[in-house]
Symmetry: none
Subunit: 432 residues, 2 copies
């Protein structure tokens, strides 16, 4: 059973110039999702009367619900009421209920009801008022050609309250019974989108079409989303979620409920539960791992110190890395990261550590150790593990990815996932 078609029309010059990022539509999508509705199509135009009339006319003909956002203000560039009136072939007239709201609004603020304010009471004839508790501009709605059209304010706070308290209750009473939206989200690390798709194609060729699969590339985590929209899908859910988790193995970090946790948050939580303390010994990441850990509230209970030993000399001075090893093996070597790891545990009396040394580039590479090479050592004094990776990233991406891998290795270590993971390095990160 499918729900009504919902479209969104956003208006405002500031949305077209890039001066602001539109967060209203994401919020509206979330609120509509709560009652099982999804937005089908979204159009954004500047404050231009002809454009607005065209869009409203087309959208009213192709949707069951049309939400118009913005253009309700007192200034000359606020054109929504006028555009809607033209689109539906009604006159504009002063609405008594809107006028009463404006009068009260101004009275409460001790201001005069001026001409720009009065404009906000001039609405398409026959429209219904939608109350705005938080602003001077009332919302209004009309039904035109089988489409319910709601005009809402652009101010996020006013919109949110109007939507939740006024519009959603009305829409939801009109919805067909049995509309289901069930979403499961998995957090995944160390594998890219195309490898993920390949694993699913190969291991789960019979993936049921009732469960829609989606991916979202994050920084550095990937999110896999299972969306179910009917009862058959719901019955299949737990089986296929399990199959998927098995197929992806220890690349799956967690199921996401609410806001996703960062890798550092997972690590800090594990440390708190295990009553362990951690330290860091960083060369190529230059303090990034320590800063990711200390970003987490409560980290002071499990993190006391980190060593940023960028030069060879300071690896010896701060962590007692023997000069002979640095000379023989070079700073980017297994022996050096082991010595850094042990030194950091000795100097800090932490239980666990992560040590990294690598070549972030763009300079400093050689044939033996090209730019992108990194050695990692992690674990406790009696159980240090190591891994070497070659990462095809630019300097900043390399540092970000090495920090993420370092944190993931600590997560795996504490989870007793003792295999050395095969990080599948596939694509650059999105910018933050």
């Amino acid at each position: 059973m499918s729900g009504p078609k919902v479209q969104l029309l956003l208006t405002g010059n500031e949305l077209m110039t890039g001066d602001i990022v539109d967060s209203n539509s994401a919020m509206m999508a979330q609120v509509l999702k709560d009652i099982g509705l999804s937005i089908n199509r979204k159009v954004t135009v500047a404050d231009d009367l002809a454009l607005l009339v065209d869009e409203i006319t087309y959208m009213a003909n192709t949707s069951d619900i049309l939400i118009i956002n913005g253009g309700l203000g007192p200034t000359v560039d606020d054109l929504t009421a006028q555009a809607l009136a033209l689109s539906i072939g009604e006159e504009l007239s002063q609405h008594p209920e809107a006028l009463a709201h404006l009068t009260k609004w101004c009275q409460q603020r001790g201001t005069e009801l001026n001409a720009p304010n009065l404009k906000q009471a001039i609405l398409p004839h026959g429209c219904q008022i939608v109350a705005n508790k938080n602003g001077s501009a009332v919302g209004f709605s009309v039904r035109f050609k089988e489409c319910d059209i709601y005009c809402t304010p652009g101010v996020p706070h006013e919109l949110k309250v109007m939507l939740k308290e006024q519009i959603i209750p009305v829409i939801s009473t009109g919805l067909p019974q049995g509309l289901i939206t069930d979403i499961t989200r998995l957090q995944v690390f160390g594998i890219g989108e195309s490898s993920l798709q390949k694993i699913i194609n190969e291991k789960l060729p019979d993936w049921p079409e009732e469960i829609e699969l989606g991916f979202r590339a994050g920084m550095p985590l990937l999110e896999v989303k299972l969306t179910i929209k009917n009862k058959q899908g719901l019955m299949l859910k737990s089986q296929w979620k399990e199959e998927l988790i098995n197929a992806l193995g220890d690349h799956v970090i967690a199921e996401i409920h609410g806001k996703p946790k960062s890798l550092a948050e997972h690590v800090i939580n594990q440390l708190q539960q295990n009553n362990l303390k951690i330290t860091t010994a960083e060369s190529c990441t230059g303090g990034l791992i320590a800063s990711k850990l200390t970003e987490i509230s409560g980290s002071s209970a499990v993190f006391e110190a980190g060593f940023v030993t960028y030069s060879n000399q300071m690896k010896t001075a701060m962590l007692d890395v023997p000069e002979s090893i640095l000379k023989q093996e070079g700073a980017v070597s297994e022996a050096v990261v082991i010595a850094m790891a042990k030194g950091s545990l000795t100097k800090s009396s932490a239980d666990l550590t992560i040590a990294v040394s690598g070549i972030a580039g763009p300079n400093g590479g050689s044939n033996d150790k090209p730019v992108g090479t990194v050695w990692l050592a992690w674990g406790s004094m009696d159980n240090i593990k190591t891994q070497c990776l070659l990462l095809p990233y630019n300097r900043v991406q390399f540092q970000q990815f090495v920090a993420a891998i370092g944190l993931d290795l600590l997560r795996r270590y504490q989870n007793k996932l003792n295999t050395i993971p095969n990080y599948i390095v596939e694509r650059a990160f999105p910018d933050k």
Copy 2:
């Protein structure tokens, strides 16, 4: 004189569900504005083939330039190539140039060119490839019915580089003559948008309307932009730029040419020029300042080590901060940051240092030292300066802002700006 009509088509289920906020289109608007173009209309739809074909067909008929964003990935929900092929009536076929890019991309990463990857080389017959330096998905363009259509990746970082380096140069060569756009950008720190506006209103009340003033809030730097669109403005430019720089004083970091430098980059460049070495002693920022410095290529010549001393005990163990001072004054105090600064210079033999200790929250505050308090000490052994600030931010914002202030203080110190700046703290950062 008016430029070509530009429309934007964004595709992606994640844009419709509210899971992410669309920041790409604001970025695109900014980049287009730099060559004097504005976006006329913007449509966003889910990954739905029929919808995409409808939109592309309509938009190609009503615009001169159509930029399609998203849907170039390797997974089944990436439909842009297919939709474009249907819209313009071309077959899909494997594009040799795209295949070469993918092959090279995978080779560089030591991964196999798999079937999902190969899908990214299946493009509308006859299209032109638009290079993607940072991702596996190439862009592509076609000319159809007097409209230039560009298909671009949804990953912000890939999109931005492709737009600036590949697409904008092509578009701008086709623009009508006489469209003047002269833009001057200033990098500003330590002052918010509304304080900036107030300073300009008060000190420069006669600001000429030929020079449009714009602000862009960054993280943590602010950008002030002077846009000129006619010859009168061009003649007024140098005078008013100078007036503005004078009015803003030492909050102005630099004029931006090309990619803006980060604060850390300014500091590293100064250190290189002055032949000085730097170290860091961080408590509340947990390694963030060190990581910002080492993000900069070439930092290894001027940065040897950083000390992340989160606990009191480790401040003493690593930096010789006297226990007595910690006990008497508390960790967040002028005496402690001075001792941290001196300790870091002694232990590292660096010339300059920055030391910070503060209460990032959400816990750990007191009446005397509420959450948001931070002490900073910086300078050389014989000239240590200090400052205390109270910053109204959440934990992560606090850490980011303290790191930025720390770097700015080092910039000012090296520039011999000896006044302690009055950081005007006004608004929370935009979310990342």
